[in-house]
C-alpha cells in the first residue's frame, strides 16, 4: 500500500520508472481479471493497455484515495462493462443474439491450461455479466462486496445475490459437463 502510494507520487512527478513498476506489478492481475470478465484474450489485452495508457495520461493529476489495486480493478471492470454493452448494441443492430464469449484465442495459453480451467472459462461465459463481475472482482480482484456494490451502484444484498446465484449457476454448468 505504502509502496503503491510512493509509486503514484513518483508517477505524478513524471517518473517513467515508477510507471513501469506499477505496470510490472499489476499487469498479470489485471489481465486475469479482464479475461475473466470478457473471456477474450485480445479484448482483455486491449483493456489492460487502455487502462495503463489512460492512467499514464492522467498521472500528473491523479489522486489515490483508496488502494491502487482496487482502483485498477475498477478501471478494468468499467471498461469490460463498456465492451459488453458495445457487443450488445452490435448484436442488436445486426438483429442477432449476443455472441458467446470465445475464450482464449491463444493456442499456447489454451494448451497450457487444464481441461478443468477451460471448462470453467466456458461456464463463466454463460452466466450474466453482473454475476460474473461480482464473482471475479470478489475472488480474483480481492474487492469487498461493499466496494463492488458501490461500483455497480446497487445494494450490498444485490451483490451478495449476484455472487451466490453466479456460483450456483457455475456449479450447475460444471457439474452438468462432468455428468456428460
Amino acid at each position: 500500500m505504502l509502496e503503491d502510494k510512493l509509486l503514484v507520487l513518483k508517477c505524478r512527478r513524471g517518473s517513467k520508472d515508477a510507471m513501469c513498476r506499477i505496470y510490472l506489478k499489476y499487469k498479470d492481475y489485471m489481465l486475469t481479471l479482464a479475461k475473466g470478465l470478457l473471456g477474450d484474450q485480445a479484448e482483455a489485452e486491449d483493456i489492460v493497455h487502455d487502462v495503463f495508457v489512460a492512467f499514464a495520461r492522467s498521472s500528473g493529476k491523479f489522486q489515490l484515495t483508496g488502494s491502487l489495486k482496487g482502483y485498477l480493478a475498477t478501471c478494468v471492470s468499467n471498461r469490460a462493462r463498456d465492451r459488453i454493452r458495445a457487443r450488445t448494441r452490435q448484436a442488436d443492430a445486426l438483429g442477432s443474439t449476443i455472441p458467446l464469449l470465445a475464450g482464449s484465442h491463444d493456442p499456447e495459453q489454451h494448451a497450457a491450461e487444464t481441461e478443468e480451467l477451460t471448462r470453467l472459462r466456458q461456464a463463466m461465459s454463460q452466466i450474466p455479466h453482473e454475476q460474473r463481475e461480482a464473482i471475479m472482482l470478489h475472488l480474483k480482484g480481492g474487492m469487498k462486496f461493499r466496494e463492488i456494490a458501490k461500483l455497480q451502484d446497487v445494494s450490498i444484498s444485490t451483490i451478495h445475490g449476484r455472487y451466490r446465484y453466479g456460483l450456483d449457476k457455475l456449479r450447475s454448468l460444471l457439474n452438468g459437463e462432468v455428468e456428460k
Partner: protein
C-alpha cells in the same frame, strides 16, 4: 456434486500472463502518454535543484553572461550590500571549471514522504553524473546520467533492492521538464549561477564547522524558474555559503513554501559535504550493472 468451495478455489487459480509483445506495446504507449502528459500539475513542486536554465547551451551561455556581468561590476547595482572578501565572479568561474564535484543532498517536502531516502550523494563531472540514494546507510538505487551528447541524455537507474535496472535515452528537445528535474539537481555547478542570476544580497561572514565562510542569499521567486502552475503566497529563501579562503561553496540551504490548488506546500533542502575540483574515475561514473540484475524491459 461439485461443492461451491471447489469452484471458488478453481476461480482463484485463474492466472493469465501478459506476453512480451503485449508488454512492449503497453510500455511504449504508456510511456509516450506519460511524456505527453508532463505538463505537470501545480501540485508538482519544482525541486530546489532546478535552475531557470533549461538547455545545456542556455546554461553555458547564461553562465558566461553572468560571469561577464560580474566582472564588469554591473551586478553591484542589484546587490544591497557590497564589498566583501569573496569575489563572486571567481566563485562562479571556479565552480564552472571544477573537474569533478561531490555533494551530499537532503530534501524534505510536505508532499513527498521523507522516508523515501535519507540522503543522496551526487558525483558530477562535465561528461557524467552519478547519484547514489541512501537509506539506513545502504545504497538503495543509483542514477547514472550520460551528459556527453549535445542532443540526448541517457539516464540509467539501477535498483539494488529488486536487482533491476532501466536505461532510457531522452531527446533533450522533447523532455526539458523531465531532464531539468533530474540533471540540475545533480549538478551543483549551477548553484552559484542560480543565485547570482536573481536579485540577491550578501550575508557577510559566518563560521561553519570551523571554516570562515561568506554567504549570499536570494528570496527572489525567479530563482525557481518557471513554475508548473499557479502558486500563491510563494516564499523562497536560498542561501549559499562559500569558504572565504578557497572560494568554493560549502553549504547550500533552501526553504520554499507556497500554496497551490488550495494546499499549503513546503520544501527544505540542504546540500553540504562538498568536494570540488576532484578527479573522478570515469569508470565510477559510468553505469555499473551487476550481472545478475535484470533489465526491466524484459520482465
Amino acid at each position: 456434486m461439485r461443492p461451491a468451495e471447489d469452484i471458488k478455489k478453481l476461480i482463484e487459480t485463474l492466472s493469465d500472463k501478459t506476453s512480451a509483445q503485449m508488454d512492449q506495446r503497453v510500455r511504449e504507449n504508456m510511456l509516450r502518454a506519460l511524456a505527453e502528459s508532463e505538463k505537470p500539475s501545480a501540485l508538482t513542486w519544482p525541486k530546489i535543484g532546478r535552475t531557470i536554465m533549461k538547455s545545456t547551451i542556455t546554461k553555458l551561455a547564461t553562465a558566461a553572461v553572468i560571469i561577464a556581468l560580474i566582472v564588469l561590476g554591473l551586478l553591484e547595482f542589484i546587490d544591497t550590500e557590497n564589498k566583501s572578501g569573496v569575489v563572486w565572479a571567481e566563485v562562479a568561474r571556479k565552480v564552472e571549471a571544477s573537474r569533478g564535484s561531490v555533494v551530499r543532498c537532503r530534501e524534505t517536502t510536505s508532499f513527498q514522504p521523507s522516508d523515501e531516502t535519507d540522503y543522496s550523494i551526487t558525483y558530477t563531472s562535465p561528461r557524467y553524473s552519478r547519484k547514489d540514494f541512501y537509506e539506513g546507510g545502504q545504497i538503495t538505487h543509483t542514477y547514472y546520467t550520460d551528459l556527453s551528447s549535445p542532443d540526448t541524455e541517457t539516464i540509467t537507474g539501477v535498483y539494488h533492492t529488486h536487482k533491476h535496472y532501466l536505461s532510457q535515452t531522452y531527446q533533450k528537445s522533447r523532455n526539458e521538464f523531465f531532464l531539468e528535474q533530474h540533471e540540475d539537481w545533480m549538478n551543483p555547478r549551477y548553484l552559484v549561477q542560480k543565485i547570482l542570476s536573481c536579485e540577491h544580497r550578501k550575508l557577510g561572514q559566518k563560521t561553519i564547522e570551523g571554516v570562515l565562510c561568506e554567504g549570499i542569499e536570494t528570496t527572489d521567486p525567479a530563482s525557481l524558474g518557471p513554475l508548473p502552475g499557479p502558486v500563491t503566497r510563494l516564499d523562497v529563501e536560498m542561501r549559499l555559503w562559500v569558504n572565504a579562503e578557497t572560494e568554493y561553496p560549502v553549504l547550500f540551504e533552501s526553504k520554499i513554501s507556497g500554496e497551490a490548488e488550495g494546499k499549503a506546500m513546503s520544501s527544505e533542502g540542504v546540500m553540504d559535504q562538498f568536494q570540488w575540483d576532484v578527479d573522478l574515475d570515469p569508470s565510477f561514473l559510468e553505469p555499473n550493472i551487476p550481472p545478475d540484475y535484470v533489465d526491466m524491459r524484459t520482465l
